[in-house]
């Protein structure tokens, strides 16, 4: 009898809980509905807790077959002892999108199953042939896959010359890749984010009261990041040293690219785990200067070393200057650095409300996109802890994802954010150790969707089901003199209600890539008065009276490269 009563209570509680989040989601200005996809992130997690097991999980959205729909690529782990994909469960996976919410596994045909312990995915058309190529970074082995344009890829790592072990540091552990044209020659170069020096045999084991857990980064040595210059013939030149990048070894977690000082050269921000961040200022001529300290983005205002994780480098307050958002673990907040427009940044984590909202959260991958099409970019964050032996409180190790809605700039101290979790429908799946995330409009409804991964758990597709009253505009740029992906192009959209800015960069979040068109929410405005595009080549192009609710394809004017 007692068991029966308990059973009834459990059912009623579950129903009430489910009804609550549905009701909450129905009122939220941003909301998502969950859609499954048959992929589980397998990291070969062991009781010994080897560091890579908790760090995997990149995802990429890109149109691999040029059918107009964004497809999904997942990077997957391997056997931690051998770093080999010894079982089909470790296969990387590519899913083709039919544009109607159906995804078909095309990994085998595409030739993207992979071989090693993979983590990062970075999309970029490095040979400007109109087919998006794929860099896959991992533990002690990176791969470059050339898109053949017929639904298949070819591993061109050896020819490209990007997979060699470092002569000083040995095999590297890559957690991020960033395609960016650093010298504006019309060819995408590759920036590789390396985490820390790891070896299965010699790795330390860290005891906690609950048992072995993943060790603090302080127990590992730093690694240098890498920069490979595109020679234009399918090969790359390692210019890490002469560019100034190699002089700054760190414990890199992610990289984002933006021209923060609007000097026409793309700069690169790198988060480090429990170290100062790096901001590599592009001085032109293939040279970078590390200026994080000078520009005030090296550390939070309390000068603490925090667990810098994924990042996004975009203008969140519509002033035309790219800002920096990155995430960290609980008690560290998700810092936001506002670009002052005077060559440096000021931290607005507290004044924006983000400090209080994010303090109890552990984040991995932030994506700055306008999810409710109101003209203000919001921040979607995958959440989940690194460690697994934390005190067993609900939601600490396994966490729900959260979207931070941008409430706009009309508040004391500037932009403000509100956190939406259950309200946004993100509690409809259990809390997990979420990792990578990629954003793009998967079903062509004008609302950007999110794909996330989680350690040892199914990936999640979060279809954007926000109220559809606002208008939108997407710009699919094609460079001619500039790189074909137009990475680095700055876009200004002026509507009767607002002026907003964004730039083309596929690098967003942690270990992930979002290679869709540049998305703008137009709010109540049905069209844009003007769209100004500043191409990496220096060409400035203006479109007038651009109607919204569509993808506009724009080809760079002028003679080709």
């Amino acid at each position: 009898m007692r068991a029966a009563i308990l059973g009834v209570i459990a059912v009623v509680t579950a129903l009430l809980s489910a009804a609550w989040w549905r009701a909450a989601a129905a009122e939220s200005p941003i909301r998502f509905t969950y859609q499954p996809i048959p992929f589980t992130l397998e990291t070969s997690e062991t009781p010994e807790r080897h560091a890579p097991e908790t760090m995997a999980g990149g995802v990429a959205l890109f149109d691999y077959n040029n059918d107009g729909y964004l497809d999904i690529f997942f990077a997957n782990g391997a056997d931690i002892r051998t770093l080999k994909k010894t079982s089909p469960k470790y296969s990387n996976r590519l899913f083709a999108n039919d544009g109607k919410g159906h995804f078909t596994d095309v990994t085998e045909k595409a030739g993207l199953a992979g071989e090693g312990y993979d983590m990062a995915a970075a999309v970029g058309d490095y040979d400007n042939d109109g087919n998006e190529d794929l860099f896959v970074g991992g533990v002690h082995g990176n791969r470059l896959y050339h898109n053949n344009g017929n639904g298949t890829f070819t591993d061109v790592t050896a020819k490209a010359g990007i997979g060699r072990p470092d002569p000083e540091y040995g095999p590297l552990w890559t957690v991020g890749g960033l395609w960016v044209d650093v010298n504006n020659d019309g060819l995408l170069d590759l920036f590789v984010v390396n985490y820390l020096s790891w070896d299965f045999q010699t790795e330390p084991h860290c005891k906690t009261p609950g048992g072995l857990d993943y060790c603090d980064p302080k127990f590992y040595k730093r690694l240098p990041n890498q920069l490979f210059l595109n020679n234009g013939d399918g090969t790359f030149k390692d210019v890490s040293a002469e560019s100034g990048i190699r002089a700054h070894p760190g414990k890199g977690m992610a990289a984002g690219a933006a021209d923060y000082d609007l000097d026409g050269w793309m700069d690169i921000f790198v988060t480090n785990d429990k170290l100062e961040n790096f901001l590599f200022h592009n001085q032109g001529g293939g040279k970078f200067e590390e200026v994080a300290f000078e520009t005030n983005v090296a550390l939070r205002e309390d000068a603490e070393w925090i667990s810098g994780m994924g990042l996004d480098f975009r203008d969140i307050d519509n002033d035309g200057y790219p800002d920096i958002v990155f995430v960290a673990l609980d008690e560290e907040t998700f810092p936001i650095f506002k670009n002052t427009g005077k060559g440096d940044f000021t931290e607005i984590t507290r004044s924006s409300g983000m400090a209080a909202l994010s303090l109890p959260m552990a984040g991995y991958s932030p994506n700055v996109y306008d999810f409710d099409n109101d003209g203000w970019k919001d921040i979607f964050v995958t959440r989940g802890h690194v460690e697994v032996m934390l005190p067993q409180r609900e939601g600490q190790v396994d966490q729900l994802n959260t979207v931070f809605r941008n409430l706009g700039n009309g508040h004391p101290g500037g932009v403000k954010f509100a956190a939406l979790t259950a309200e946004a429908g993100l509690a409809s799946e259990p809390p997990r150790r979420h990792r990578g995330s990629a954003v793009g409009d998967l079903n062509g409804d004008g609302r950007v969707d999110v794909v996330t991964t989680a350690i040892g758990a199914p990936a999640e597709i979060w279809m954007n089901a926000s109220p559809a009253g606002n208008h939108w505009l997407e710009l699919q740029l094609e460079g001619t003199r500039s790189n074909r992906d137009a990475i680095g192009a700055r876009i200004k959209v002026v509507t009767p209600g607002a002026t907003q800015y964004n730039h083309v960069s596929f690098s967003t979040g942690y270990a992930s890539s979002s290679a869709g068109p540049v998305h703008f929410g137009l709010g109540r405005d049905k069209s844009a008065n003007s769209v100004e595009i500043r191409w990496p080549s220096g060409t400035v192009q203006e479109l007038k009276d651009v109607s919204g609710d569509r993808i506009v394809r724009v080809r760079e004017p002028g003679p080709p490269r």
Partner: protein
């Protein structure tokens, strides 16, 4: 240890009882009417008559250690400490080998706060043949008060052998704890707390010992239960707040510290702890600010409440510099040697672009505490704004050095 100290019998009452029901001993003192009346008066806090009768008794029997020790207590209670110490010294000369006098002297010295002497006499008493387990427990408790953990352990172990009670296990646990033997302490304290959950101090001490040992999960469980049982105990609330913080429940920790202040606003620790957890205060930040304001009002000449009040105001999302700067300056006026006030003031000045003033405050802060990494980083930033690049990079390097050392980082 305070519980044991308060458990010690009042000397006069004990002596009177001893007189009426004499303990067996080789040197029983002659009982006089004056002595009996003096002790009776002393037990009623009638120090005038006590002194009158006891001084008469001393004249009648100047070799009486009992009279001397009673007089010592009387003088002490009358505020004549010098006379009291002289009388006690005389009692020591006359009755050093008499168990009753040994015990009486222990009680006298415990009253004066000289716990080393009190412990020494009580141990002598407890070592006499036929001494009770209670005397061993008292010897242990006084040894603990005297900061002599090895002796405390020895006598507490004796006490447990003779009297297997929760009190004895608690005492032994506390003795082990003081001796730094946490592994031994925890089972004893756990046993006491489980056997006598109605004893607030058992729960509190067990919880604190768990915290000291780093058993945060069990500490939290014990203290959470203790809080339900003793909602008015500031000690348990305080320890609970610490446990919550350690267990990554910062919001609960802030709530617990605010509760401690509500229960007993004279305890300083919750104010200090809250000062370290301001970023976790969230929607309760106004309560924290109010608590500091009230503390500052009560102690206007104490720099700490002034500083913490300012720091709490700084923690708001949009701090009011015009209100906070005078607070920080006042805190510095009250105690110019507190490095953190200078550091926070410099941060406020930096935000207003007052770089030379910020440089001055940071330099002072570093002078007072050169090991605070943040001050070096902030100074580096200030130097940068002042165009002093070399100095900036030197401070930045010092920051890196301190942070690396602080985190134990093994950097290449």
């Amino acid at each position: 240890m305070k519980s044991h100290r308060t458990a010690v019998l009042l000397l006069a009452g004990w002596l009177l009882g001893w007189l009426l029901s004499p303990l067996p001993g080789p040197a029983q003192q002659p009982v006089t009417d004056d002595l009996r009346q003096g002790l009776a008066a002393l037990s009623k806090n009638d120090f005038v008559h006590a002194r009158e009768f006891l001084e008469k008794a001393a004249k009648l029997d100047p070799q009486s250690a009992l009279v001397a020790v009673a007089l010592a207590q009387t003088y002490l209670k009358s505020g004549q400490k010098d006379l009291a110490v002289q009388a006690a010294a005389r009692a020591e000369q006359l009755g050093a080998d008499t168990p009753a006098i040994q015990h009486a002297l222990a009680l006298f010295y415990a009253t004066t706060g000289d716990f080393a002497k009190a412990a020494e006499w009580e141990r002598r008493f407890a070592a006499t043949p036929g001494a009770s387990a209670q005397s061993a427990a008292s010897a242990a408790a006084l040894s603990l008060d005297a900061g002599q953990p090895a002796e405390a352990v020895k006598w507490a172990e004796t006490a447990v052998r003779g009297d297997d009670t929760p009190d004895a296990h608690h005492l032994l646990g506390q003795a082990y704890r003081a001796a730094g033997r946490a592994e031994s302490a925890l089972p004893e304290l756990r046993r006491a707390a489980q056997a006598s959950p109605g004893q607030e101090v058992f729960v509190s001490d067990f919880g604190q010992a768990l915290l000291e040992h780093g058993d945060f999960a069990e500490a939290l469980a014990v203290l959470e239960k203790g809080r339900r049982q003793y909602p008015k105990s500031p000690q348990i609330a305080l320890a609970f707040g610490v446990a919550c913080y350690a267990q990554r429940r910062p919001a609960d920790s802030v709530g617990a510290f605010l509760d401690v202040i509500r229960l007993d606003s004279t305890i300083e620790q919750p104010y200090v702890f809250l000062g370290r957890a301001l970023q976790d205060a969230g929607i309760r930040l106004p309560e924290v600010v109010a608590a500091y304001a009230a503390w500052e009002k009560k102690a206007p000449d104490n720099y700490l409440p002034v500083f913490l009040h300012a720091k709490a105001l700084l923690a708001s999302s949009n701090p009011d510099a015009a209100r906070i700067e005078p607070e920080l300056r006042r805190s510095i006026e009250l105690n110019g040697a507190f490095w953190e006030s200078h550091l926070e003031l410099s941060a406020l000045l930096s935000k207003q672009g007052k770089w030379p003033e910020a440089e001055h405050e940071l330099s002072r802060s570093i002078e007072l505490n050169p090991r605070e990494a943040r001050a070096h980083y902030d100074l580096a930033r200030v130097y940068l704004h002042l165009g002093k690049r070399d100095l900036a990079h030197a401070e930045q390097a010092e920051y890196d050095r301190l942070k690396s050392a602080e985190s134990g980082a093994r950097l290449p």
